[in-house]
Symmetry: none
Amino acid sequence: MTVLTLQDAVRRTEAGMVQADALGVAVNIAVVDAGGHLLHFARMDQAWLGSIDIALKKAKTAMLFRMPTAVIGQISQPGGPCYGIEATNDGLISFGGGLPIIDEHGRTVGAVGVSGGDVQQDTEVAEACLSAAG
Amino acid sequence: MTVLTLQDAVRRTEAGMVQADALGVAVNIAVVDAGGHLLHFARMDQAWLGSIDIALKKAKTAMLFRMPTAVIGQISQPGGPCYGIEATNDGLISFGGGLPIIDEHGRTVGAVGVSGGDVQQDTEVAEACLSAAG
Amino acid sequence: MTVLTLQDAVRRTEAGMVQADALGVAVNIAVVDAGGHLLHFARMDQAWLGSIDIALKKAKTAMLFRMPTAVIGQISQPGGPCYGIEATNDGLISFGGGLPIIDEHGRTVGAVGVSGGDVQQDTEVAEACLSAAG
Amino acid sequence: MTVLTLQDAVRRTEAGMVQADALGVAVNIAVVDAGGHLLHFARMDQAWLGSIDIALKKAKTAMLFRMPTAVIGQISQPGGPCYGIEATNDGLISFGGGLPIIDEHGRTVGAVGVSGGDVQQDTEVAEACLSAAG
């Protein structure tokens, strides 16, 4: 199984910051490994302090369930099949901005979490992190 | 009172895994005793890491209230009679997949919690755990 | 990198329970994967309830630092180089009974944690878990 | 007052990693701002997972009290003037490897926390982070 390296995580973070700059937002970017453990983190100047925890939890959420955090949001609404799931695992994030990193064999090897813009912007930054060559 | 044994818990877990295989899902299965304390746990290969905590909490929830976790879900919706109950007891789960183990005298002697598939699948696996002879 | 399977974890747990029986103690045995996440757990009948958490934390500790928990105990004494380390990572265990599982390439792929006997007994049970063929 | 930038934090982290490589250890490095909030984090490949939390807490500790973590260790021993202080603030670290970043006016503008080697190695890496020009 491919193991995410720090060098790879840094490259992804940098690609995300380029995209954030293009969007005119300041974000926090977290990259976790396949066990959900923090590998790299960067807070752009002027990014919200409250988004540090959100970026960390978005990355953790996307890794623990190997799916985008936005999907968790769809199933966790009041009346939905997994209402309340966000309170498990010491806190999950159930809106967009967290995406799994999937290797060429289809295996989830880590995840990125982005927070600081609106959900659409965070998602676009996370996608830029994924596009960066591993 | 019947006391759940490790042997019994293992048998129930194994029956659940057979059902999970039949459904094509990889789940986490937790069995707790009458005090809500962990007796046995197994994570099938490829099961979500985020479901470990959910399986443990489903079993705990079903034991603490001696009812299926899905029932907790019905009463804990916004506007419902026990809105917010899932935040008690260091975290409950309010959707299906946790079931009490009831002995031949109608007494709850433990509970199983299953997580890894969708709610319907988790519930079917939990029912398979209950069907296994104690 | 070798990934610990549930089958391997069950085999190690069973080997540990055979050793515990031979010693006349009832223990809790936890096996975690390379990310420190729970893979398998069993509590022998009559084992202390308070040892559930200790077994889980011993396994976590041995994995997070890739060393026996007893070594953490040596460096965390008052006046020692890492006094207070046991309060990190949501709680570590700093006495014997947790051992890393090391593969044939020298890589730590998981860990076992045993609690229920005295430290010497717990350690012997953990060693039996390690000796079981992976 | 000088505000620590991400660029500055990255430069300090990179200087620390050069020193860690020279010492032959793999460490986690965290940099926090004047509010104790995470600005940058990097885990070198092969660094202990258990050191993530320690590096983060070392940086936080050094900032919250504007002093090296080793000093907290001296006053928190059994019988010492601040015995137990490490349990405050959601957990402090009371051994070496966390150092305040002090600007040219003598003001503490952030801190670095390093964990992964022994205390002497962690301290040397943290000193290398401080030596990097802001």
